[in-house]
């Protein structure tokens, strides 16, 4: 699935993550720019969850910028999904069940 337009979800509150997704030309792949107060401890994990969520929604090409304030994996998934839905790419999803 492809993105229609850039979109954003989430906040800069503690335990949240602000995710911005933007369309890129097909074949560009996924590029993630990540800022986090727990980058040293969880940077890799956050990138992995963002990528997994994009893949789960069938998005192969996107530019992602994420500003993380210590969000848990479930929050990261929900914020990425919300950004994708707002960008016109995702079905309205839920808890993955």
């Amino acid at each position: 699935m492809s993105l229609d337009k850039p979109a954003q979800a989430g906040t800069l509150e503690s335990s949240d993550i602000m995710v911005t997704v933007a369309p890129v030309p097909p074949g560009s792949g996924i590029a993630i720019e990540l800022e986090s107060n727990v980058l040293a401890q969880y940077g890799d994990a956050i990138r992995r969850v963002i990528t997994e969520t994009l893949v789960a929604y069938g998005v192969a090409d996107a530019a992602v910028r994420a500003v993380d304030r210590g969000a848990l994996d479930c929050t990261i998934r929900a914020r990425v999904a919300a950004a994708l839905a707002r960008a016109g790419a995702a079905r309205q999803g839920g808890c993955g069940r």
């Binding site: 979800a9 989430g10 906040t11 509150e13 503690s14 335990s15 949240d16 969000a71 848990l72 994996d73 479930c74 929050t75 998934r77 929900a78 914020r79 999904a81 919300a82 839905a85 707002r86 309205q92 999803g93 839920g94 808890c95 993955g96 069940r97």
Partner: protein, 292 residues
């Protein structure tokens, strides 16, 4: 029996509160998609609450989600997204009559996964019309398990002056408790809105218990312990209930029809009240006998 002394609202678009909602030991958490969420964030909050239901351990707390009002398109979206994630119940706001409950029940039934534990419904009565229909609402569907009272919107609808003492809502509270009891569901009282007034909260909760409410909505985690302290059966109540049950057993053994405890006649409703107190005390670990 589900214990619902305290039902704590958790804002649905706040990840920090959602992940910690279980630590306050409220009998129920209400993950809120309605008033706590700004109109433009409804979609994001819906996804966040869905994810929280799937991932966060709320311990022994009953998991309730307050969806958006049934007269908006959001309600159906909420139900479709939330129900498959396995909440224990949905709290329906601004319920005006039995039709609202029936409509919600149909949407819930359609959204449930096969084999899923049936999702219950609770109705928030917060309009004069809703109160007038309270019994019909309470009896509308077998999923309906509690009526809750929202006094702020209700008094606004009346044009009444809202006070801390709550004289203006006394009749409404009594009507709501009666409707719930008539239909055999729980009555849950309106929240106490001054979160800094612990004594006021205890007074207001004591009144609610006296009127017959089974529990109280809480808008701040700090309110949970004080509300529990009121709704927990007191030692005196447990003692009275034990005497009633003993007297009934003795009467049954002796084939006697008439029973008195503490100089007062005991009949069936009193026995069932005593039994409920003992059951509650046992569930809360306040008493060793009796059981679930």
């Amino acid at each position: 029996m589900t214990i619902r002394r305290s039902m704590l609202f958790i804002p649905g678009n706040n990840p920090g509160m959602l992940q910690n909602g279980g630590v306050f030991c409220a009998d129920a958490v209400i993950l809120d998609l309605e008033d706590a969420v700004a109109p433009l964030e409804k979609d994001a909050a819906r996804l966040l609450v869905a994810a929280a239901l799937a991932s966060v351990d709320y311990g022994g707390s009953e998991k309730v989600v307050r969806i958006n009002p049934l007269d908006t398109a959001m309600a159906a979206d909420d139900i479709r997204a939330i129900v498959p994630c396995g909440p224990d119940a949905l709290l329906l706001p601004k319920v005006q009559g039995a039709k609202d409950v029936e409509a919600a029940a149909a949407l819930v039934a359609a959204a449930e996964r096969p084999g899923q534990k049936p999702v219950k419904l609770m109705a928030l009565i917060e309009t004069p019309r809703g109160l007038a229909e309270a019994y019909a609402v309470a009896a509308a569907d077998e999923r309906l398990t509690a009526l809750a009272f929202g006094a702020e919107d209700y008094t606004a609808g009346l044009g009444a002056i809202r006070t801390k003492e709550g004289t203006e809502i006394l009749a409404a509270r009594s009507l709501l408790v009666n409707a719930a009891a008539a239909a055999g569901v729980d009555a849950i009282d309106t929240p106490f809105t001054d979160t800094n007034d612990e004594e006021g909260l205890t007074r207001d909760t004591t009144l609610a218990k006296q009127l017959g409410f089974r529990g109280k909505l809480c808008i701040n985690p700090r309110q949970v312990d004080a509300v529990h302290a009121v709704f927990d059966p007191s030692a005196a109540e447990i003692g009275w209930a034990e005497r009633v049950v003993r007297a009934i057993r003795r009467a049954e053994e002796q084939g006697s029809g008439v029973v008195a405890v503490d100089g007062k006649m005991v009949d069936a409703p009193i026995v069932s009240r005593a039994e409920r107190i003992l059951q509650l005390a046992a569930l809360l670990g306040l008493r060793e006998e009796a059981g679930r």
